[in-house]
Amino acid sequence: MNGSVILAMVALRLRRIFRDRSALIWFFVMPMVFSFLMGQLLGDWGGSGQPSRPRFLVYADEPGPELERFLAPLRDHERFVVEVRDTTVSAAALAEAVEDSRITAGLLVPSGFEAAAAGDDTASLRLYFDSDRLSSQTIRTLLEEALLRANTAAAARSLVADPAGGEPGRGAAQGFDQVVFDRLWEEPRVRLAVETLGRKQEEPEFALTNSYQHVGPSYTLFFVMMGVLALAQDLVAERRQRTLARLVTSRAGPADLVLGFLAGGFVMGLVQSVILLVLNSLLFRIDYGDSPLTLGLAMMLFAGVCAGASVLLGTVARTEAQASGLGVATTLVLAAMGGLWWPLEIVPPFMQTLGKLLPTGQAITVFHDLIGRGWGLAENLPLLVGLAVWCVVLTVMATWRLRRVMAS
């Protein structure tokens, strides 16, 4: 591999775009104009402009310090918010709220909890959780840890001698009493009953609070795809004007030339993505979430998909006009079906499934997950794998076609 050949080809591509005023308008100005207009048009999607985290509702008849201590490890978790209420709720209503994805989990705390945690009584908590949601799973794990801790504390308290003389069975031991401890361990003061619920609704709730959170990334993706696919016209021109022939008969190896063409689109797509995403974040105050790795991977894979498609298109189109027409048509179709114009969340389930098989749908869903749900790499892995598959398939096809075109 000859880096300087690839570099020269990439530099050529970037330079021609950055020197062409009308190209710059299409690459950078139009996307921002569209984001602004569509954002204004669609307005707020509810809420404070802060991304909403799923809620964990705790219903306690008598909230007290023991409950606070018990819930402390769950407070301020980045994946969900804990809300404690002292109203009563029926078990059925709580289960339904979880099933409808209005909340990610619910906990019923009976009135004896404070006493039980102090070692004086027993109490049974009831958790309603959704086994398909990560936040719900996290809650369950954390609750189980908290339970162990509370019961151990209760056991320890019971074992320690009460200076005031105390009742039988409580603080009776002068030192460690294995028999008493075993009884306490087998019959813990606080128990947790877990109610596992399936998900009625396949998709998690619509998590965005503000239309810019959608239109910013979606117009970025749209114009990146359109821009990189427009480079297919350059490849057709290179074939027609015979600069491609000149490249092939040069000292640069064929593999470097193929890489040079692919890298041209890839780098252009990345440069455009970074600039547009930064502008969007500054102008429309979009927070892309906590996983720059996921964001970076998604954008690189998306740029790779576009670059592969662009080279492929440049090798099959006969004329520049055809390349341009096919490029725009492809972008429009993929944008509409992949949920760039309107969120996939509002289209029928069948179209949602279809959309998520497309690179546009995969990329925008990653954005929704990052921005709206605060998700990270693990949750987005299937989407990233989908993008990677597209990227590999298109790159392989483009390479195969370009090698053929180069030898004729």
Binding site: N2, S4, V5, L7, A8, M9, L12, R15, R16, R19, D20, Q241, R242, T243, A245, R246, L247, V248, T249, S250, R251, A252, G253, A407, S408
Partner: protein, 310 residues
Amino acid sequence: MIIVENLVKRYGSHRAVDGITFEVAKGELFGLLGPNGAGKTTTIGVLSTLLPADGGRASIGGHDVAGDPGGVRRLIGVVPQEIALYQDLNARDNLLFWGRIHGLGGKALGTRVERLLELVALGEHARQKVETFSGGMKRRLNLAAGLIHNPEVLFLDEPTVGIDAQARTKLLALIGDLAADGLTIIYTTHYLEEAEQLCHRIGVIDQGRMVAVGDKEDLISQIGDEDRVRVQVPSERHRALTSAAETWPGVDSVSERRGKLEIRVADGGAVLPPLQAWLAAEGLDLAQLEVIRPNLETLYLNLTGRGLRE
């Protein structure tokens, strides 16, 4: 330096190159002469490793074009028939780009570019976009781009197409200089006078076949060095004119050729006065008379039975 044996290249069932054989020595300027569609570009395409051959062999500097394309590419420079340049870049940036593609860089590339720009007389237009260039300027830059890496062999595919006489003269002089410096060149053209003027040896190609190869004198000797005077007279007068012409000075033979009489004579000028006199006496028109001196055109006509098309 260049050996071509029985080269065949097909497009579908059409044999664009149909068993061509020739050799070019180091430092030679070899002309490939033929009309549109003769197979010149296709031949260059195979020799420059762009197109795979369907038969025969070719090698450049000992490297087989099919077996060792990389080795061939290290030796050759190609100037395509088209202006293979980036129109929206300026002249210097174009040359810098092609230099980098050939693995050049740094100061050496910078100096090379400046020298080439001077060589093709574009020094003053170095910062001008190619799309604003005249046809001649584009052709010169196209040539420079093929020379950027100092190749040992240069393929020039109709480098003078579409430019005016003055620009053509300049370009031909430039190519002559390159040949004088020892560059091995294959030069394709359908202009006879270019091949005659410029090339050491010429291969005449038609419908994918090499119909003649040799230096200019070789080729002319293939058709003899006599002039031919062709005159059209009504066929019932052929016999009379034949017997008259045979008595004129220097006439070698008189024969019938496609309805015309052809007089072969050492000097065509010498038979014109008696011919005119004979025509006047017979009351016939002068306009139907033509004198053909032996040149590549007549050679071509003889070889292919067709005139060269421009």
